[in-house]
């Protein structure tokens, strides 16, 4: 082409689409949350018995309908807020802020895993193996926690390091496979999730991973010395401080280190990175390994937090998948990821309160999360699937209508 003017639309490739999804704007993100809340409100209202009853005589007495509507939606979201931030009905100020503490505690695994996946996104890697990496971190962390008996302080550190190493091993595998064979990290990490699940299930059949004398597939609890110290008896623990420290660490890594520069360069233009003498393969390995380690740290939240859980096949919950949403919502940036983690932690915490207080099922939280993902990921995806042109480039031929108008206009000026 001789002209710099936009060229014909290129065949969409999924890496480019993926890059668009992970680079969505802050406005998109905020609007996605708002729309999700609206969709949630419609579902809540539609399922509410009072609303259903009053809608039958909507035109006779519209007032009843709108009151019912307001009560169902307002009640549910008020409960959600009270469960996630401040409980106004609580007896003391400490109890009033307990929901906020739960939110913060809930956010810890999401922040760790979200940071990991966001880092992968920046390198152009879609690591959806968070789930498996968390499980491996959990295996290491838990075993070190109940099998060893170390002094206060030291034991926590050993467990945290163990969790990091466990996750890192599970991240290293897809990293080295991608680097040496070009294996698609999406497929490898999905399969490794399954492998990790079955490995965990197998380990829990071994006597060494079980509570002595028990036949249940649950490990012993970790030592009290291995638990994260908590603040003021709330669920908020040193784990949250570590998560924030990890966010700062990832920020430094991405913005101030040569490795981060390489990661971003490889993610933005692999060919230019290669031509500049960067080792793309080792960069992939580093990203996946560090990411795996961070995911492993997510496992410390249920194992070392208060209340503590023992190792079971459900230890990773859905953290690994929720973290994808968190990273997308946080636009793969550390600060964004922390905020998105807090939001999702809050939805989790508030969801229980909402269910208990108003009978709105907690599944509505899943709907909110799903709508958010859909709104962020869908536009580039839909465009890629249906090969639609980018509306920002208006070079698509439109019918003569526009042409006529402009011709008429130019004739007037001529």
């Amino acid at each position: 082409m001789t002209d710099i003017a936009p060229t014909a639309p290129q065949a969409p490739n999924w890496r480019a689409t993926f890059r668009k999804i992970t680079n969505s704007s802050a406005v998109t993100v905020v609007l996605a949350i708002v729309v999700a809340l609206v969709v949630g409100a419609i579902l809540i209202a539609a399922a509410d018995e009072d609303v259903q009853r009053t809608v039958t005589y909507l035109f006779a007495q519209p007032g009843d309908f709108f009151v019912a509507l307001g009560q169902s939606i307002g009640g549910a979201y008020a409960a959600l807020f009270q469960g996630a931030v401040v409980n106004f009905g609580a007896s003391s100020s400490g109890a009033a802020l307990l929901p906020l503490a739960r939110t913060v505690a809930n956010s810890v695994p999401l922040i760790f895993a979200g940071l990991a996946l966001g880092m992968g996104f920046r390198a152009g890697l879609f690591n959806i193996g968070g789930q498996g990496q968390i499980m491996l971190g959990a295996v290491f962390c838990s075993y070190l926690g109940f099998a060893l008996h170390l002094p206060v302080g030291l034991h926590v550190i050993v467990c945290v390091l163990g969790a990091f190493v466990g996750g890192a091993i599970w991240g290293f595998v897809p990293g080295i496979l991608k680097a040496t064979t070009g294996a698609n990290e999406v497929i490898v990490t999905i399969m490794l999730n399954s492998i990790a699940g079955f490995l965990l299930g197998f380990l829990l059949t071994l006597q060494s991973f079980r509570v002595p004398g028990s036949n249940n597939p649950i490990s012993p609890m970790v030592d009290a010395n291995a638990l994260y110290p908590t603040f003021f008896g709330t669920p908020v623990s040193v784990g949250f401080v570590l998560a924030i420290a990890a966010a700062v660490g990832v920020w430094w890594l991405m913005e101030r280190s040569t490795l981060g520069f390489r990661i971003k360069a490889v993610g933005a233009n692999k060919d230019a990175a290669l031509t500049s003498g960067m080792n793309v393969r080792t960069t992939y390995i580093w990203v996946m390994t560090i990411g795996g380690g961070l995911c492993g740290l997510a496992a410390t939240a249920p194992l070392l937090g208060t209340p503590s859980q023992a190792l079971s096949v459900d230890i990773a919950s859905t953290f690994g998948f929720d973290a994808i949403t968190v990273a997308l919502l946080g636009r793969s940036k550390p600060l964004g990821t922390v905020l998105a983690g807090l939001l999702f932690g809050g939805l989790r915490a508030g969801g229980y309160m909402m269910q208990a207080g108003t009978g709105v099922p907690i599944d509505i939280i899943l709907v909110l999360q799903s709508v958010i993902v859909l709104l962020i990921a869908a536009p580039p995806l839909v465009k890629a699937i249906f090969r639609l042109p980018d509306p920002s480039r208006r070079h698509k031929v439109r019918r003569a209508r526009g042409m006529k108008a402009s011709v008429a206009r130019s004739e007037v000026t001529a």
């Binding site: 082409m1 001789t2 002209d3 710099i4 003017a5 936009p6 014909a8 101030r256 280190s257 040569t258 490795l259 981060g260 520069f261 390489r262 971003k264 360069a265 933005a268 233009n269 060919d271 230019a272 990175a273 290669l274 031509t275 500049s276 003498g277 960067m278 080792n279 920002s392 480039r393 208006r394 070079h395 031929v397 439109r398 019918r399 003569a400 526009g402 042409m403 006529k404 402009s406 011709v407 206009r409 130019s410 004739e411 000026t413 001529a414």
Partner: protein, 532 residues
């Protein structure tokens, strides 16, 4: 058919690609549209061809206003376009390609192949195209493929033919042949719009020249106008078309390449037994039609591809003046860069820069692991910014700040960034592929100056270019590549026609003989180099 464009305006966002352009092409006229890269020539033609919708203005054919919703409408109205990148199906025959989209059918729905062949044969014979309708397109040389495109347009009764940069992919001989085809078409009454930025071609063939700059028509010229006049119209100021340099003999060998081969696992040889030396303080340019192994050669030299045989050796002098050799054969890119080789890749936006990074970051992407830009794995952002500001100043990179996104710069300025990055290091060898591709004339002068300055500072310079003018302007010696081999290495004052024949694979001696016999030399324009 008479074509008239009135007040055509086309905007992309805030960028006005065509600003109120008027153009009249009389029947049977060759109308050259001359302008720099990015002047808006192709946009205008895409509007005419129905690919873009104009934001304002009118298209008239024989004084009838027309509205084209797409290329189909334009073709039906008698407009044919030959794109710079051919729109042919490589595995189809010529006949199949020509009828593609309006196939003659027989029976229920069978392509009438013999009729398709007849169409091709008829047009081919009429204009002496010598195209075999049964040949597979992928087997044909580029010049013939272009004729297939022209036949395709003519088979649809095109009265107006748009040729978009038709000579970019041709050897000088093929270019001459195209020119004679254009004259024949003109004699047969076809109007031709000829888009180009090459002054020589315009003077050869055009009846009327319209010059476009920054999306506006800045003037018309007769073909008798001198090259410097045309260049001044194109660029908007006087341009020095000659490259001011003295020929260098070169010093000791700095880069020695021996029997370098690159054979694909399938057995296809991309490079075959390439042997050459580049001396200190010397520019060796590699000429050739695109796709004859130049890309592969530079990629092997810089370590992006691994050769299958042969060696690459770097020779430097130590303090005592003794030669120190370093084997660079199949080393990593990192090692090769660090041993004093600079590299400007052919495809700037794909391999040379990261559009999402700032100018300052792009200026250090291949040095980021080295002091002063980083220490112990930690970036020194201050050093990176300072370096950015300094290079922007020194290389006259037109941007408000070095922190601006690389993607916001013009092609010429992006190229200056890439060049600045490489030239700011101490280089033993400097390799640049298509250093001025997609770069405006003003920047070309500057870039050529920088390359020569690097040579004068003692570097061995290897330039790959498909622009013959650039090759001859910069070279101390010229190597010609054809199908992965070096056809020969000749002095820079070698006749254009000899170079052209060499680019078609004919050995230097033979090419020299041929041109003597045919006394081509009479036609040679001896005024030296023009700008592109």
């Amino acid at each position: 058919m008479k074509l008239e464009l009135r007040h055509i305006t086309k905007k992309f966002g805030d960028f006005v690609a065509n600003d109120n352009i008027d153009l009249v092409v009389e029947p049977g006229q060759i109308h050259a549209l001359l302008g720099e890269n990015g002047a808006g020539k192709s946009t205008l033609m895409n509007v005419l061809y129905g690919l873009y919708e104009a934001d304002g203005g009118q298209i008239l054919l024989d004084d009838q206003p027309m509205q084209f919703a797409g290329p189909g409408d334009a073709m039906a109205a008698g407009i044919g376009m030959v794109h710079q990148h051919f729109m042919l199906v490589p595995v189809f025959t010529v006949a199949e390609n020509v009828v593609l989209g309006h196939e003659p059918v027989k029976g229920p729905d069978l392509i009438d192949v013999s009729k398709a062949r007849d169409i091709v044969k008829q047009i081919s014979d009429r204009f002496g195209f010598e195209v075999d309708p049964n040949a597979l397109v992928e087997d044909l040389p580029v010049g013939i493929q272009q004729r297939v495109e022209i036949i395709k347009a003519l088979s649809r009764q095109a009265k107006i033919l748009i040729l978009d940069e038709p000579t970019a992919v041709l050897t000088p001989q093929e270019t001459d042949e195209l020119m004679s085809i254009m004259r024949q078409l003109k004699a047969a009454g076809t109007s031709i719009v000829f888009i180009t930025h090459k002054l020589r071609e315009v003077q050869d063939v055009a009846d009327v020249i319209t010059v476009i700059r920054h999306g506006r028509v800045v003037g018309q010229a007769a073909p008798t106008a001198s090259q410097s006049e045309l260049a001044r119209l194109m660029v908007g100021r006087a341009v020095d078309l000659s490259v001011d340099k003295t020929l260098h003999q070169g010093g000791p060998v700095a880069l020695s390449v021996k029997d370098l081969s690159l054979v694909e696992p399938t057995g296809r040889a991309l490079l075959e037994d390439i042997t050459f030396d580049v001396h200190k303080s010397e520019i060796l340019t590699i000429a050739g039609v695109q796709g004859n192994g130049q890309t592969e050669l530079t990629e092997v030299l810089i370590g992006l591809r691994k050769s299958t045989a042969g060696s690459v050796t770097l020779v430097t002098q130590d303090a005592a003046g003794r030669a120190v050799t370093t084997d660079l054969t199949n080393q990593s890119v990192r090692t090769i860069l660090d041993s004093g080789v600079g590299y400007v890749p052919e495809n700037r936006s794909k391999d040379g820069m990261i559009a999402g990074f700032s100018v300052a970051e792009n200026l250090v992407i291949d040095q980021i692991t080295h002091p002063p830009f980083s220490r112990h794995g930690s970036l020194d952002t201050r050093a990176i910014s300072a370096n950015g500001a300094r290079q922007v100043e020194q290389f006259d990179i037109r941007t408000d700040t070095a922190q601006a996104g690389m993607g916001t710069l013009s092609g010429g300025n992006q190229q200056k960034v890439v060049l600045a990055r490489e030239l700011s290091r101490d280089l033993t060898v400097f390799i640049a592929s298509q250093p001025t591709r997609g770069v405006d004339v003003g920047s070309i002068e500057f870039i050529h100056g920088q390359i020569i300055a690097e040579r004068d500072a003692g570097a061995a310079v290897l330039i790959v270019s498909t622009e013959l003018n650039e090759v001859t302007a910069l070279a101390d010696r010229i190597a010609v590549m054809y199908r992965g081999r070096f056809v020969g290495i000749v002095p820079p004052d070698t006749d254009r026609n000899v170079l052209g024949l060499m680019m078609a694979g004919i050995a230097a001696d033979e090419a020299l003989d041929l041109t003597r016999q045919e006394s081509y030399t009479d036609q040679v324009q001896s005024e030296g180099v023009d700008h592109d």
